[in-house]
């Protein structure tokens, strides 16, 4: 077996395709590293500035007292850029990089609306009029280029030998067929891996030698998992190439079939499925969000003005009515925003479930979730934001409860604690990435990918066992 693998390997290493694949993968990986080094420091810098802006915002309002802090809210909360963004760009430009924890809707002479958590939909990509292209990230290199290379290495592995008659020669020796197949598979696998590993090493070398990008132990762990996924994905295409090569008489036909399968599954399936998915999901109710929000507010405010005269100006009763009005309004509106967000997320989940039929989408989703970019990461960010919002509100309540002179009525300046708030005590938002969460979401996709590989491998085995020489 090892003998066959070695023979295959030396065959491949001397071939033109090996040289071309090495050049292509090295060039792409190098480009990827250079672009990342150019863009990433800017992103990190911007994030740092924004975080300090957020802290200044909180400090400024904390010094104005508890009411101000509770009314204004913590301001914009920003998503932390992943330091593995070179692995998967993850459509980050199509998603908002922030959540708005401080969204003002109205004010009257005495009252102001309280902050709510809103999710702006503006994306960094809206103003961009540059031509639309796929980012050259690991996801692209693995998903498209590596799979093509894998097919180009295996399309003639069996049919080519049969054409030349050497297959008969090999099989006339006392070697079981599966040993031949495994040997060939290993040979092809190693010869595809060499250019890829070279590319990866160069890429990581360039990235890790730069002082601007720091990869910690966790990041290296993630990179290891991504590498493993890439290997699994390569195996899938090697198995496919062997399967077709065993079934087809001539290697030219084998290549034509493989290329067309590749084009359909890798290039067109993701987009076509996405179009179908996008169509099927948006048929839901599209009532007007702002109209509904306005109606809710109108109802509440008419209720409020109906009870307006129950409490005379300055009395506790009046403060209670005012506070109930403001807090209820904020609660309703935030719920509305959250409902909309949840509906949108559910739509995307459904759409993404459909696009999972294509192996390249699975792999890109997987790489995204382990690189800490993309949609799953966005959901994690939103989760962090919600946790923080709760924490912030709890802090306000606790601070107010600690002051015995306060009336403990939220929503009105006079109802709340007048004590100064120390800016250091206010919780600050810190966005974090969590690997165990990623693993949960990625497990299905990983299993699906493994299933694909196993099916194709056994298919290749069966096809080769039954092949007539």
């Amino acid at each position: 077996m090892w003998h066959i693998a070695k023979r295959e390997l030396s065959d491949n290493l001397n071939s033109l395709r090996f040289a071309l694949a090495t050049v292509l993968l090295l060039g792409l990986m190098l480009t990827n590293a250079v672009v990342h080094l150019r863009e990433h420091p800017e992103r990190v810098q911007q994030y740092r500035e924004r975080v300090s802006g957020h802290q200044n915002h909180i400090a400024a309002h904390a010094s104005n007292g508890l009411y101000d802090l509770a009314q204004e809210g913590p301001g914009y909360l920003y998503k932390k850029p992943s330091n593995l963004r070179f692995c998967a760009e993850g459509s980050e430009t199509f998603m908002s990089d922030r959540a708005q924890a401080g969204y003002h809707r109205w004010s009257t002479d005495t009252l102001k609306s309280f902050w709510i958590l809103a999710y702006p939909s503006a994306t960094p990509n809206r103003d961009n009029v540059r031509p639309e292209v796929t980012k050259v990230d690991w996801g692209f290199i693995i998903g498209y280029v590596l799979s093509l290379v894998a097919l180009l290495f295996t399309f003639d592995s069996i049919s080519g030998e049969r054409e030349r008659g050497t297959l008969r020669l090999t099989l006339s020796n006392a070697i079981p067929r599966h040993t031949v197949l495994i040997g060939k598979f290993l040979g092809a696998f190693i010869s595809v891996s060499i250019p890829f590993i070279l590319g990866v090493l160069v890429n990581l070398l360039v990235i890790s030698t730069s002082s601007d990008v720091h990869l910690d132990a966790e990041a290296w762990g993630r990179l290891g998992i991504i590498f493993f996924i890439a290997v699994l994905y390569t195996c899938l295409f090697l198995a496919l190439g062997m399967l077709v090569s065993a079934r087809v008489q001539r290697s030219a036909v084998s290549l034509v079939v493989l290329l067309l399968v590749w084009v359909v599954f890798v290039v067109f399936m993701p987009s076509t499925l996405a179009s179908i998915a996008g169509r099927s999901t948006s048929s839901g109710p599209t009532y007007d969000f702002s109209e509904r929000s306005w109606k809710l507010h109108e109802e509440l405010s008419s209720d409020y003005y109906a009870n307006y005269d129950e409490g005379p100006e300055g009395s506790t009763k009046r403060i209670e009515i005012d506070g109930a009005y403001v807090t209820k309004d904020a609660e309703q509106q935030e719920q509305l925003h959250e409902e909309r967000l949840n509906r949108r997320i559910a739509e995307v989940h459904r759409a993404r479930a459909i696009t999972r039929l294509s192996p390249v989408t699975i792999v890109q989703n997987l790489i995204e979730s382990f690189a800490g970019t993309g949609f799953e990461r966005h959901l994690q960010f939103l989760e962090n934001v919600k946790t923080y919002a709760r924490e912030f509100r709890t802090f306000i309540v606790d601070t107010d409860n600690a002051d015995p002179e306060s009336l403990h009525i939220f929503g009105v300046r006079t109802g709340m604690s007048q004590e100064p708030v120390s800016p250091e005590a206010v919780p600050k938002f810190e966005d974090t990435l969590n690997l165990s969460k990623d693993f949960n979401t990625a497990a299905t996709e990983l299993l699906l990918l493994t299933l694909f590989v196993l099916v194709l491998l056994s298919g290749a085995y069966l096809a080769f066992v039954r092949v007539e020489v």
Partner: protein
């Protein structure tokens, strides 16, 4: 010559790859057209509801100053062929007299799910880009190398046939074979389009589609010739095939994506943006000083135009809009007031005078801002896109994409046409306001005497640019494709003529 062509044609038609080519192109084009038509219908429905909604909104507005005119960009039916920027850029814009609207002020419909953008989109040109080029190479890789390997090339050349004729015959027959599935699938797509009720294609649209077909044929031919060139230079078909596949991978898959990532706009745009933003801010500060000055000199107003008007109901607002990323900065104010508690008509007259003074001042400042803003926007957004396009043209795929976008009218120029129309619309509304002396009228801020009649207001209408303009925009790229064809053919001829058999 004819026998040669006939022989080649038969050779190609009987092959497995021809059957597969027909099948794949049909499958992809028809399936995707069906999906794209549905997608377009949905976008059109979205557009219609937005237009309807803006009508309702208008009928609810009671004074001139609070109303912003809503304009919605209709989806381009030819975006099925090449989506370009049609889906990606904003399609909803508010026209306000104090701000000159541009593409960068537009918003997306709020009913759309912004997350859906993370799923990639597809169009017919995208399918052709990938499949046609791949098929052309698959047809071409063994035309010369294969005959050489089998020894039939020697046989053919022993007859008194010139080498040029052989090349031409091979080229023509293979192109015919490739054009059959291409044109048939395009015609099928057209049949699907014309039977769909939501599409109303004009004569001009059909001409545009014809232009897209021409570009597709030229693109196909470029890749066939590349394959032939490789085939004429190599001795073995397997080498030719490997080289062709890697060339395809590089030109179609890698280069267009890589080059846009590598190029970076040369000058630091942030500083330019900051200085322009400062400049614009100064313009509005000067405006604000003048406004304050007027308010303090008119003793009846005492600093607040509505402060001395005791009113029963309504609201007023006033703020500076500031969005640094696209240099959006303007003063926005409006009022909708219903009746005054006591008749103080002299006071109302003063407020009217204030607006007679103020609104032209706002319009003036807006024009001034535009003069600063326009070149910076060009430099920040349009210039990088232009540079990208120049680099993209190094790959035939890029040229093909740019040419078809220009023909379909979904490129930047096509989108800008719409916003130019919006700017003209704003101007016509302002002219109308001046004509009717709306600024100095009571209806500008109050509806106690009479609500505004919106029916006489100019209506927005937009016609996509004439086909001649589209062709003019696409012509350089079409010409480039043609040039590449000729150069490649000459190259093949030279290589083949000198070749030893």
């Amino acid at each position: 010559m004819m026998t040669l062509i006939r022989r080649e044609l038969l050779d190609n038609l009987m092959t497995f790859r021809f059957a597969v080519a027909v099948f794949i192109i049909f499958l992809l084009v028809v399936a995707n057209t069906a999906v794209l038509i549905k997608d377009h219908e949905r976008r059109l429905a979205g557009h219609k509801t937005e237009v309807q909604k803006s009508r309702n909104y208008m009928s609810e507005g009671k004074t001139y100053s609070v109303i912003e005119l809503h304009v919605d960009r209709p989806p381009n039916p030819l975006s099925i062929f090449n989506t370009g920027l049609d889906k990606r850029l904003g399609n909803e814009i508010w026209v306000y007299y104090g701000h000159i609207p541009t593409l960068w002020d537009a918003e997306k419909h709020s009913s759309q799910n912004p997350f859906m953008n993370i799923l990639s989109s597809i169009d017919i040109v995208f399918i052709f880009q990938g499949v046609l080029s791949l098929l052309a190479l698959i047809f071409a890789y063994d035309t010369l190398a294969g005959e050489y390997e089998r020894g039939t090339l020697r046989l053919v050349l022993t007859h008194s046939v010139s080498r040029g004729h052989i090349l031409l015959a091979k080229y023509i027959s293979a192109m015919v074979c490739l054009l059959v599935p291409t044109l048939m699938s395009l015609i099928l797509a057209l049949i699907l389009l014309t039977t769909s009720p939501s599409f109303s294609l004009s004569m001009q649209d059909f001409l545009r589609i014809g232009g897209i077909m021409v570009a597709s044929i030229a693109y196909l031919s470029v890749f066939y010739l590349i394959g032939m060139l490789i085939s004429s230079m190599t001795r073995r078909t397997s080498t030719a095939l490997m080289l062709s596949m890697f060339v395809w991978g590089f030109l179609v898959l890698v280069y267009p994506n890589m080059i846009v990532a590598v190029i970076q706009p040369s000058n630091p745009p942030e500083e330019r943006k900051a200085s322009a933003h400062n400049h614009i801010k100064q313009i509005w500060e000067a405006f604000e000083r003048e406004r304050k000055h007027y308010l303090t000199t008119d003793t009846h107003l005492e600093g607040d135009p509505y402060g001395n008007l005791p009113w029963r109901d309504g609201y007023n607002f006033e703020h500076f809009q500031d969005k640094v990323s696209v240099l959006q900065y303007y003063y926005h104010a409006g009022a909708e007031i219903d009746g005054f508690r006591e008749a103080r008509e002299s006071q109302v007259l003063h407020v009217q005078d204030y607006h007679r003074f103020l609104v032209p001042l706002i319009i003036d400042a807006a024009e001034h801002t535009w003069r600063v803003r326009k070149p910076v926007l060009e430099e920040l957004f349009v210039l990088p896109a232009t540079i990208d396009k120049i680099w993209l043209r190094l790959s035939p795929t890029g040229i093909y994409d740019i040419a078809t976008q220009a023909l379909a009218g979904t490129d930047l120029n096509g989108i800008q046409d719409f916003f130019t129309a919006v700017q003209q619309y704003r101007q016509s509304v302002i002219d109308y306001y001046y004509d009717k002396k709306v600024f100095a009228s009571r209806e500008w801020f109050s509806f106690d005497k009479a609500a505004v009649d919106w029916r006489t207001l100019p209506q927005f209408s937009f016609q996509r640019s004439d086909i001649s303009i589209n062709v003019k925009r696409a012509l350089p790229d079409l010409f480039l494709l043609l040039m590449i064809n000729i150069v490649l053919f000459i190259g093949i001829f030279l290589v083949f003529v000198r070749r030893e058999v």
